[in-house]
Symmetry: C2
Subunit: 478 residues, 2 copies
């Protein structure tokens, strides 16, 4: 861990390239998602999409190009996004009359369209999701975590009233929490963003926040209650049961390919990726060892295991290439394959194989009779274990006894000296933007969210010492 | 049918709007895919994706923005695409040093990357597919068929030699044929494009061509053997087994959301959409009739049928809204729902229901005991029947006895007079571009493809009367 801690960014960038997840391109901040990282995304998509559909949402697709005038309609929205927009100004040899932005998010295009689609209370709720590419031309980029183009889903719903819209906002946040904890084995705190960290144009933003192995936070998903702000900006009204024109209440919610980056930074280790079994492109690798080429029964047995695992729907690979076993072990550990089975002549004689889980140090000997059951069980256990390990790591690096900015500064100095990670700090906040700003300036710690279920409640503001209105997670963030 | 024939475009545009498939936006040629059309696309995607994976392909994602210099590297490619490109020239408040095109297709970006990824024969073949949005800024647009932004999949593979690459090209074309005929119930002719209709940068282009109800052709999928053209342009070389640097042979192949338009134009009728059961968002609609509100047993029985169909994985909707049965019949016919079940008090008494297939005129009475089996069977039969009907229509409108340009002109005049559709013409072609050009100028008929299995072989060129090198489908095309 020390190498990772010393230069975590370098470890991250080296790891994703060595594990063959991405390639860079000459277009600033635009990466190619190679098959292994794209497949992780496909597993995330499948699970999210299933849950969206189970809760009554349908997918649609909206144009990527957004007229400049659409952005002007919601003042907070344009302020938040305009510094990051790429613009199409020419097409088919002619200059365009109006510049078209590459969507950073689709509230404006969708607001425009919903105003046509929604006429009566009978048209509500509108529950739509979109899987799409989006663009945010940011200065500092980092593969998966912050790229100029990324892939995401954005849900956009419209409701008769605030109550229903807020219920939707919360429902989607809890789906995110379940998928990120269940499928990605990443524990998250769900909570509300402070006003300064709100989505541009939202009334309230809620997030799930995850701790990476360098102690920094990643906002892993957000769900916004937009009130009637976009309804007013785009004139989305419906005729209610009393025959009165009424603004709809809208929500939006999103998760993106930054989840892939989070998986790497939460579970990875010195040897490379560690992938939760449910999203691993290869879940099991079979490797013949010893003088296996002289002994065809070895590969025959592995072929048999391969077929049996495949029939169970397990994603398995048999590596019978010419490389040495040691080379193969490193290679597949680097790629984060959850379970490895080794079989050599001696093992076969004894009717057993060696099994190793990617996150455990020891190999275990398993009977060939029961190898399929052992693998299945290990995949399940590893999925649970990774979540538990990440929870333990988070607990260890969550600091709940820091009461003042001085104490925080001391903590940071100490962690720097001792080369430990600063982690997260749970502290009180009076609700004043200025206190948030001061803390940020002095420590680079920002408010992550106001957790719904904090480990403890704080009573004094970290900065001014006045009565705390909220108990807040503070951390450095990606 | 006469109304459709008289103004087919108007019928098409009216139908897709009334059936709630799309909406227009202020961005030229960019439409919103509403949930019903997007779900058709999802069903197409699922089937295609399954087949791509079964044949060893994996998905990846490549940047959408392509530097102008990439296009310059393959001369035919830039000539073909530059008239249609939209350009990003500014981002985040600054002018870009180099213009970035919105991808019309990704051979160039992928060529650039493959040159890094491919070093040795061990790295081959590379079998990658991408699901993405693409842009072609065309003058005349038509929803689904020709839009400025559309959705598609593009496969890009690299191989050791021509033989393997050509095999791949043909394999993907036959997957397209199977999916379009099997899933969409659209019969197609597979064949080779003439040089003038080739993909910009291809050595050979192959296509599947479908006949719409107005007799025009839609190119429903294409597969290209690119030879070493892109390998040379982007320096994609590998070290072969004899340790020599060798250019790879590449292929690309694509199908797009224009398939949705084809489904509508092949199966639709005066009443609206007719959707093949396998891709219909709603496969069965249950409608209570007669004085059903006074008789709660009716909706109870329909609820039961609903649950039984749903349990079988059938996409079913119960319409118990306040509208009249006649209104509902029209509505669901317009949306192309394959099977309708009606249940009223009299039916219930007799333990039967009425079943109507969207493409048949008569309702049939089915026993309530066996209603699930009847529905399942009808969905299967309708899928087959639609393909057969489309084949019969195509045969009826395929003209194989036209030998000269004069005969073609006479045929066209006659079809105009009689208000019939001109259809397709199978004719000989000497292989001379000038003959193709003359035919196009005089009749607007272009070469669709040189079918692998023509209904008959032609011996004289339609234009010059010289010996025919090829037997070709000629038609007006979208
Ligand atoms: Zn304060
Ligand atoms: Zn000729």
């Amino acid at each position: 861990m020390s190498q990772m801690t010393n230069n975590f960014s370098k470890w991250y960038i080296d790891t994703i390239q060595k594990a063959d997840l991405i390639d860079y391109t000459p277009v600033r901040g635009c990466i190619a998602f190679k098959p292994d990282s794209y497949e992780i995304w496909e597993h995330i998509q499948a699970e999210m999409d299933k849950r969206f559909k189970e809760t009554g949402h349908r997918n649609a697709y909206f144009p990527m190009l957004i007229p400049e005038s659409f952005f002007q309609k919601e003042k907070d929205h344009i302020e938040g996004f305009s510094p990051e927009l790429p613009w199409v100004t020419e097409a088919a040899g002619e200059e365009l009359e109006e510049r078209l932005a590459l969507r950073p998010t689709s509230e404006t295009m969708i607001g425009h369209l919903y105003s046509n689609w929604i006429k009566s209370y009978r048209d509500l709720p509108v529950l739509i999701n979109q899987w799409a590419n989006v663009f945010r031309w940011e200065k500092k980029t980092l593969p998966f975590i912050r790229t100029s183009e990324f892939l995401w889903q954005e849900g956009h719903t419209a409701h008769v009233d605030e109550e229903e819209a807020r219920k939707e906002t919360m429902q989607m946040l809890s789906i995110y929490k379940e998928v990120v904890e269940g499928l990605l084995a990443i524990p998250v705190y769900d909570g509300q963003k402070t006003p300064s960290e709100r989505f541009a144009g939202a009334v309230d933003t809620f997030s799930i926040e995850a701790m990476m192995k360098d102690g920094k936070a990643v906002q892993a998903g957000t769900s916004h209650y937009l009130g009637t702000k976009f309804a007013e900006a785009f004139d989305i009204k419906y005729l209610n049961k009393e025959n009165k024109h009424t603004y709809v209440h809208t929500t939006s919610w999103g998760t993106s390919t930054r989840l892939i980056g989070s998986v790497i930074m939460v579970h990875g280790d010195e040897k490379g990726l560690v992938l939760p079994p449910q999203i691993a492109p290869t879940q099991v690798v079979l490797i013949p060892v010893g003088p296996w080429k002289k002994n065809p029964a070895i590969v025959e047995k592995l072929d048999e295991i391969f077929a049996a695992l495949k029939a169970k729907g397990i994603r398995v690979h048999l590596d019978d290439s010419d490389q040495s076993p040691g080379y193969k072990f490193n290679e597949w550990e680097l790629k984060g394959v959850p379970v490895r089975i080794e079989l050599g002549p001696r093992d076969l004689e004894n009717q057993q194989a060696l099994m190793k889980a990617r996150d455990e140090d020891e190999k275990v000997s398993v009977s060939l009779d029961a190898v399929i059951e052992h693998v299945e069980k290990e995949l399940e256990m590893m999925q649970t274990r990774l979540l538990e390990k990440a929870k333990a790591f988070r607990t260890e690096n969550s600091h709940t006894h820091i009461e003042t900015l001085d104490e925080l500064t001391t903590h940071l100095e100490k962690s720097k000296e001792q080369e430990t990670i600063p982690g997260w700090v749970l502290a009180g906040w009076c609700g004043d933007d200025a206190c948030e700003e001061t803390i940020k300036e002095k420590t680079k710690f920002t408010t992550r969210n106001i957790p719904f279920n904090p480990p403890t409640t704080k009573h004094k503001c970290l900065n001014c010492g006045k009565e705390a209105k909220h108990t807040v997670w503070f951390a450095r963030a990606y």
